[in-house]
Amino acid sequence: MILVLLFLAAQTIPLEGILQFADYLYGQEDYAAALHEYRRYQFLTDSVHEDIPEKIITCLIELKKFDEAIRESSQLPNTSKSNFLKGQIYFLAGKYDSSRFFLSTVGTPYKTDAKKFIGLGYALEFKFKEAGQYIELPDIELHPKKPLLGALYSLFPGGGHLYCGRTGDAIFSFLVISTMGLLSYYYYDHEEDIKFGISLGATILFYAGNVYGGINAVRNYNYYQNEHYLQTILESAEE
C-alpha cells in the first residue's frame, strides 16, 4: 500500500520541479545529487534542453569523472561552444593532443581562452617552445643537463651526482665503490677466490648502478627544473 502511494506521489511530481531541484542542487555545488536529478529529468522527458548536457558534463568534471564526461561530450553538437567544452574536458583529463584538436577549431569568443588552454597543455607536457607560441612564458632561462654527460662523468664514481649538484650522494657513491674495489683487491691479493668473486661482483654492480644513477640524476634534475618552471607558468596563468 505504501509503495503504491509512493508510486502515485512520484507520478504527481511535475517534471519542471525535478529540473528546478536539479538546478538548485547545481547552484549549491552538490554535483553528485544534481547529476542524478538531471539524468532523471532526461530519462523522464523527451523535450531537449540545450544546457542540460553541458550541466551534466560540468557535474562530471567537478566530480573528476573525466572519462564519463568525454563520453557524454561526444553527444554535443559540432559548434564552437561545445568544441571549447570538449577541449577543456580533454585538457582536464590530461589528454592534451585531443584537447588541442578541439580547441584549435573554436572561433570567437572562445579563441583567446582556447589559445591559453593549448599553451598550458604544451607546458604541462614540458614542451615549452611550443607553449610559447600560445601563451606568454616567464623570463627564466632553463639549463637542462645532458644525460650522456651524466653517464660520462659517472665513469669516475660519483661524478654524475656531482654534475647535478648532489655532493653528498657523490661522496657516498665514491666511498661505497672505492671500498668495494679495495676489498676486492685485498681478497685477490690474499688469494681468497670466493670472497674475491663476491666482492668483485658487488663492485661491478655498484659501479654500474653509479653510472645508471648518473643518468637518473640528470633525468630527475631536468624533471624538477621543468616542474618549477611549469609552476611559475601556472601561477602567472592563474593571475
Partner: protein, 116 residues
C-alpha cells in the same frame, strides 16, 4: 635454511620463472625477514630500499632492477633529505617519497601537476 629459501621462493606473489630474479627476490625476502625486521625502520626512503630493489627487479628485470637498486642504496645516505623538492617529490611520515617508476630511466616523466 634451505627450507626457508623454498618457502620464500614459493611465497613470491608472481610466478617468476627467471632464476636470477628468483635468487635476487629470495635474498631480499630473506634480508627483509631476518635482518631488516631486527634492525627496525631505518631506511630514509619510502618505499624502503629492500622493497624498492625487490619490486624494481620484479618489474624491470634483474639487470635494470639491480642497477636501480644499487643506485638507490648509494642515494640512501645522510644527505638524502637535502634533495627533497629538487629530486624527490616530498616527505611522508618522515620518509622521503621516491616512487620506483620515477627512477626507471627509459620512462618519460610527465608532470604531476593537478590541472584544475
Amino acid at each position: 635454511m634451505n627450507l626457508l629459501l623454498v618457502i620464500i621462493v614459493l611465497a613470491q606473489p608472481n610466478q617468476e620463472t627467471n632464476p636470477v630474479t628468483i635468487v635476487f627476490s629470495a635474498s631480499l625476502s630473506l634480508y627483509q625477514e631476518i635482518i631488516s625486521s631486527s634492525q627496525g625502520d631505518v631506511c630514509n626512503f619510502s618505499p624502503s630500499c629492500s622493497y624498492f630493489a625487490k619490486t624494481a627487479i620484479a618489474k624491470y628485470g634483474p639487470l635494470w632492477g639491480s642497477f636501480m637498486a644499487a643506485d638507490r642504496l648509494m642515494r640512501c645516505n645522510l644527505w638524502s633529505y637535502q634533495h627533497v623538492g629538487t629530486y624527490y617529490p616530498g616527505i611522508k611520515d618522515r620518509k622521503i617519497v621516491d616512487p620506483i617508476e620515477n627512477n626507471f630511466i627509459f620512462r618519460d616523466r610527465k608532470s604531476h601537476k593537478v590541472q584544475k
